[in-house]
């Protein structure tokens, strides 16, 4: 491991370090980049939570946040001058969405109506 790789390894969580080591054990040919990718994937559980499995699933607000980020990219890419004017509002909305304790669609729609 190079110094940079070691630094990257040390920044991993305990779960990620275990996954990194397990990945390297079963795949000795893997590069550091491959093991780091594996470590980042394994410690995330993307499945819905209602199975006692501890997954988080994708909530409506997750999808909404991604959509707003992409809408922001659209304005930034196609209308850079207008983007300067509206940038802070995108930041505010994204912050609100990410911090909002909302899970249902109705709550998201209500949140959206009150913008």
């Amino acid at each position: 491991m190079t110094d940079i790789e070691l630094q990257e390894y040390n920044q991993l969580t305990t779960c990620q370090k275990e996954a990194y080591n397990m990945g390297m054990k079963y795949h000795p040919d893997w590069s550091h980049a491959q093991a780091i990718t594996y470590a980042n994937i394994i410690c995330i559980n993307p499945f819905p939570p209602e199975n006692n499995g501890g997954g988080t699933g994708t909530t409506p607000k997750d999808i909404f946040a991604v959509m707003i980020e992409k809408a922001e990219e659209f304005i930034k890419r196609d209308f850079p001058r207008i983007y300067i004017q509206v940038k802070q509002y995108f930041v505010e909305i994204l912050k609100k969405i990410k911090n909002a304790v909302v899970t249902t669609w109705n709550q998201i729609i209500e949140f959206f109506s009150n913008l």
Binding site: P48, E50, G57, I75, Q85, F90
Partner: protein, 282 residues
């Protein structure tokens, strides 16, 4: 190569309930930021062009039996018969679904490779012609396949290079369908490995198998350098999603991946996709 375009009927009454939230979002932001009328018109003009100027194009690729039609039905709100997608054809079939208010969804049925050397060559040419035109490319793999080596090879040698050559790597999604059937390959007689049809979720034991299968598939994709963090040529982990189209399980992950896809994936979500998903998750 012959190209055929088919216009499909869509239930307009159902779709008329939807509204384009994105226009409301922009209107709210522009009002707060006191954007001039002229600038607003410019943005809304461009947005209209994105929504109605050309169809939202999706290519769906996969071997027979991977669940292409059921994926299209679950994710894109269509109502295709499961035998609708024709295998073995060498025609390029584009199906256009008028969704609402001038927004059209266009689907390319792309056959999977590994049929015969002659056909594979024709299909490869088809991929080269069609994939660069598409906003989203969904490559479907069956989760209960014991060996995804062939799919990895097709992705690595054909699909991903086409995407990289055309700078559309971000448009590609690897969709691992049929996670509900993983238990059948382990022990088809074990009821604890079956889908819980009452709650419409995997049983605890099946759930653990799904999580393990996800790890194994990712290990293979990483080994083949198909998925890597911070890579110019490989996919990101978020471009690989695991779901069951038949049970509409984990579709949120699929919609999130579509939203992130390329430059126009979000247009689908902002116009019709979000509403379809919302109605499925009431």
């Amino acid at each position: 190569m012959e190209k055929k375009v088919i216009i499909e009927e869509v239930d307009q009454e159902e779709l008329s309930k939807y509204s384009f939230l994105i226009q409301k979002l922009f209107a709210a932001i522009f009002q707060k930021a006191a954007v001039s009328k002229e600038d607003k018109e410019k943005v809304f003009g461009k947005l209209d062009e994105e929504i109605t100027g050309r169809p939202f194009k999706v290519a769906i690729i996969g071997q027979a039996g991977v669940g292409k039609s059921s994926t299209l039905n679950a994710v894109f709100g269509l109502n295709l018969p499961t035998s609708d997608i024709r295998e073995g054809t060498t025609e390029i079939i584009e199906k256009i679904f008028p969704m609402r208010d001038g927004f059209n969804l266009s689907i390319y049925d792309m056959p999977g490779l590994l049929q015969s050397r002659k056909k594979d060559k024709i299909y490869e040419e088809m991929y080269k012609e069609i994939l660069p035109q598409c906003d989203v490319i969904v490559y479907i793999i069956k989760a209960n396949t014991r060996n995804i080596g062939d799919d990895c090879r097709i992705l690595k040698e054909i699909v991903l290079p086409i995407c990289n050559q055309n700078s559309i790597k971000d448009n590609l999604i690897i969709a691992v369908n049929k996670v509900d059937t993983i238990g059948e390959t382990i022990d088809p007689d074990d009821p604890e490995l079956m889908w819980d049809g009452i709650k419409n979720v995997p049983t605890k034991k099946l759930y653990e198998c799904i999580v393990k299968k996800r790890q194994d598939i990712f290990a293979k994709l990483i080994t083949e350098n198909l998925v890597l963090l911070n890579s110019e040529t490989a996919l990101t982990p978020e471009q690989v999603v695991f779901y069951s189209a038949v049970y509409e399980y984990n579709l949120g992950e699929v919609l999130k991946a579509i939203t992130k896809a390329g430059k126009r994936g979000w247009i689908w979500t902002a116009t019709v996709g979000l509403d379809i998903f919302k109605n499925k998750n009431k």
